[in-house]
Symmetry: C2
């Protein structure tokens, strides 16, 4: 059985906060004890805030290109400037929707630039190196309470072909994000068609169900899922190479 | 807290089997009591088998087109024939991968035609009307044990941009598959950017974590998730209209 529990963090997260200490405190406040093998799922927003990846829009001077695109796509030119700066490549821009590939290689709307759940005229950017952010939390939990856990940092992305958004992994530590069935057989001895499951994304989605969007619960603990541990791992394993994608 | 439990079904499912009776028996064997508000997640494969959507390939005579495409894409011409018959439109065909839109409107590989977890030279097709299949299970649970549940029938689909497959909903009953935040506000009183979460797909993904692919556990119970009930609902709410998709 898998159990998923949300963790409330009441305090606003600020630059230089010790995020993992705050998470551990919040978990203790919830009367929960972290166990070996738990997966800590963390919304990227609090990671970005603790890392200073939050921008006062008043300080952004949009480029001519950003001003032009903002007009066409009905966006704040300063936000448009951030989207351009965070993107490796704009893939589609239509009806106010901008889909780009971020510097990390994620394909998502607005390069992950987000104005919700921040104070005033601010925007949050994705963490610069989300795998490293996840590793830091993992290491810190090991150091502070001696438990071996995995960490998944998430964002909420739209998808092609289907309505609605789902939570996906954007940074990982301690877990192989893919469960491979390559070379394994089904109940009747036939090679399996389904060969690779993106379990890190499924865990991110599962955690979203308890985290919500405005409840102040940016962390979840997923317990009871047996995963393949991986000391050297990366969310890049989840990113399909451009030339292997039939819809890019 | 959300709890997800897998249910083992040892018997092979056959045409005219009373699927919901078999599921309820399997749940009882697992010492679990269904509760009001549970979500029953069911792999489509056992639904298809119970509905006779399983084909002996020896009985399929491939068309000239199927034979030609099978050669190019290194497929069994009889399976190719089924893929063509199940598809409304082939969207991409390259390197042995065929992505099509099924008659239901799902965009997936091989129109959902699948040869794993079936005996001998057989192929399983998607249920004809998966929402109705879900409703039948829901109604039957209500009738047999008096409990109000939701049902989600799943398949495992690939995605654009990201490696690995995830479980998604292909049929639903009793639950609004979308959780809408439209018109709601974040912790700081700002309108939320993330407006619609595809919770039915997130639940399908969460359930996959306990179901696996070859363990004989085609059913999971998701308990503790508070969802919006819907008596008239459809998986079609999750299907993005062609003209609203930037990547089709």
């Amino acid at each position: 059985m898998i159990q998923i529990t949300s963790i409330r963090i009441s305090d606003d997260i600020r630059l230089y906060n010790d995020l993992s200490a705050m998470i551990l405190e919040a978990i203790a406040d919830s009367q929960i004890e972290i166990q070996n093998g738990d997966i800590l799922v963390v919304t990227h927003k609090i990671v970005s805030k603790a890392e200073g990846r939050i921008v006062d829009l008043a300080c952004i001077k949009p480029s001519t290109k950003a001003i032009r695109m903002a007009k066409v796509h009905d966006k704040d030119p300063r936000v448009m400037e951030l989207i351009l700066k965070e993107s490796k490549q704009i893939l589609r821009a239509k009806n106010g929707v901008i889909i780009s590939e971020t510097k990390h290689g994620f394909v998502c709307a607005n390069a992950g630039v987000d104005q919700s759940n921040v104070k005033g005229d601010m925007a949050v950017l994705l963490p610069v190196a989300p795998d490293e952010s996840a590793s830091r939390i993992q290491d810190s939990v090991k150091k502070k309470i001696g438990k071996e856990i995995a960490v998944i940092i998430t964002d909420t992305f739209g998808r092609t072909f289907r309505n609605g958004q789902t939570n996906v992994a954007i940074g990982i530590a301690g877990i192989n994000p893919i469960k491979s069935y390559i070379g394994t057989y089904d109940m009747y001895g036939r090679k399996l068609r389904v060969t690779e499951i993106a379990v890190a994304d499924e865990i991110a989605s599962a955690a979203e169900l308890v985290m919500g969007k405005a409840e102040g619960t940016p962390v979840a603990i997923v317990r009871g899922y047996i995963f393949e541990k991986a000391s050297k791992t990366s969310v890049k394993l989840l990113l399909r190479a451009k030339e292997r994608d039939l819809f890019r």
